[in-house]
């Protein structure tokens, strides 16, 4: 494994934080949407190095640091490496192994033509991370496709990149969607809780954006202004298996096909990565 330094820790909540990691030596190439394996010695394991993969939230054009948004899950047992990271200080050493993962943006269709379909990214919790990377990457390279990022969280203070993604949407409004076409929406699953009292946006699980409502089209179709079909939209999903299953259920009618079950001609409309 290679050496690096934790350069920045921003606690968003007691159990949610943004970490930046600066590798020693030349900054490696990777693709937006990939994950990096990090490792640290863990006291309770006799200082043995414990490794774990985390999705990268920064974009490949950023050669200053890798950024991660990490949740410290503690039930039923706290993760060993994540606990070590939440106990770490800025300046501490950390190890890393090259980026990997297949949840990356498709630029071409199986027939070799450019994939110009709308990109819809659905992230549950810290499953947003690869889409923050993708959004910033597509912005950097001046991609003209329509991009919609949907984020689901239990509480408003878990909307980790709300400001950055809102700024990307505001830029889209300012510059015009012919130059940069980006939208960001979030759903809060526990709107009745006191902490969420200010929330007036979408409620429920993030996949509810895809659910048709009585007498109305889905919130996603309302946002796009047209029916979502396999020919005009490509879905990327990251989160708990429940988020993946829920999204696939709402897409329904077997029209949409996942990468794992692609058609004979190699085509598909859904790419996903689950954790937990």
């Amino acid at each position: 494994m290679e050496n690096a330094t934790i350069s920045y820790i921003q606690l968003l909540r007691e159990d949610l934080a943004i970490f930046r990691v600066v590798p020693e030596g030349p900054f490696p190439d990777y693709k937006a949407g990939q994950f990096l394996t990090l490792g640290m010695p863990v006291k309770s394991e006799n200082n043995r190095i414990i490794n774990r993969a985390y999705s990268i939230a920064s974009n490949p054009e950023n050669k200053k640091y890798f950024e991660f948004v990490i949740r410290w899950v503690r039930k039923p047992y706290p993760g060993r490496l994540t606990t070590a990271m939440f106990n770490a200080k800025e300046g501490d050493s950390i190890h890393w192994r090259k980026a990997n993962g297949t949840l990356t943006i498709n630029d071409k269709l199986p027939n070799g033509e450019p994939d110009t379909r709308r990109i819809v990214c659905i992230g549950g919790g810290t499953g947003l991370a690869p889409f923050v990377s993708m959004a910033q990457h597509l912005h950097e390279i001046g991609d003209k496709r329509e991009i919609i990022v949907l984020h689901g969280a239990s509480y408003v203070d878990e909307l980790s990149y709300r400001e950055r993604l809102t700024d990307l949407e505001l830029e889209s409004i300012d510059r015009g969607t012919d130059k940069w076409n980006f939208k960001y929406r979030a759903a809060i699953s526990r709107p009745q809780e006191w902490l969420n009292r200010s929330w007036t946006g979408q409620v429920g699980r993030v996949e509810n954006f895809l659910r048709a409502r009585p007498g109305r089209v889905s919130a996603l179709e309302e946002l796009t202004g047209e029916k979502i079909t396999k020919d005009n939209t490509m879905f990327y999903i990251c989160g708990w298996q429940g988020t993946i299953d829920g999204t696939l259920e709402y897409l329904g009618n077997n029209e949409f096909v996942t990468e794992r079950n692609k058609r004979e001609d190699g085509s598909y409309e859904v790419k996903f990565e689950s954790y937990g």
Binding site: E14, R74, K75, P76, P78, R190, Q192, E193, W194
Partner: protein, 129 residues
């Protein structure tokens, strides 16, 4: 949950809250909340003026749930939380985890809370399987 089951569950919550309210003369208020902050049922002694208004009750419930959730983060070492007691000048607040929910109880201040807790606990039916 079917309607019949829902009615039985509601009756169970009502009885639980009522039994705890009248388990000791110093108990002022009893509420049962789930882990999503829904107040499933609550009762209070009518002759007493409430100390908190509606919004402040929501804040108080949020604080109790937050504290309970955080306490569970160490349960893999310390075991499950059984009871928490907070003494204020004007009231004593007791919270007791019950079947995945949280029983919130307030009592008059400066009581001998050991006796109160014994009375409250004996009014709560066992639920652990």
């Amino acid at each position: 949950m079917g309607m019949a089951e829902e009615i039985v569950t509601t009756q169970t919550y009502e009885k639980l809250c009522s039994d705890v309210l009248y388990s000791h003369e110093s108990v002022r208020f009893v509420g049962l909340v789930n882990n999503k902050s829904d107040l499933l049922h609550s009762v209070q002694k009518q002759e007493l003026d409430p100390l908190l208004d509606e919004d402040e009750i929501k804040i108080s419930i949020n604080y109790s749930l937050e504290r309970w959730r955080k306490a569970q983060n160490l349960s893999f070492r310390l075991g499950n939380e059984k009871l928490t007691l907070t003494e204020y000048d004007n009231v004593t607040l007791i919270s007791i985890p019950y079947d995945g929910k949280l029983l919130l109880i307030s009592t008059q201040p400066t009581v001998h809370y050991h006796d109160v807790i014994q009375s409250i606990i004996s009014a709560i039916p066992p639920w652990e399987k």
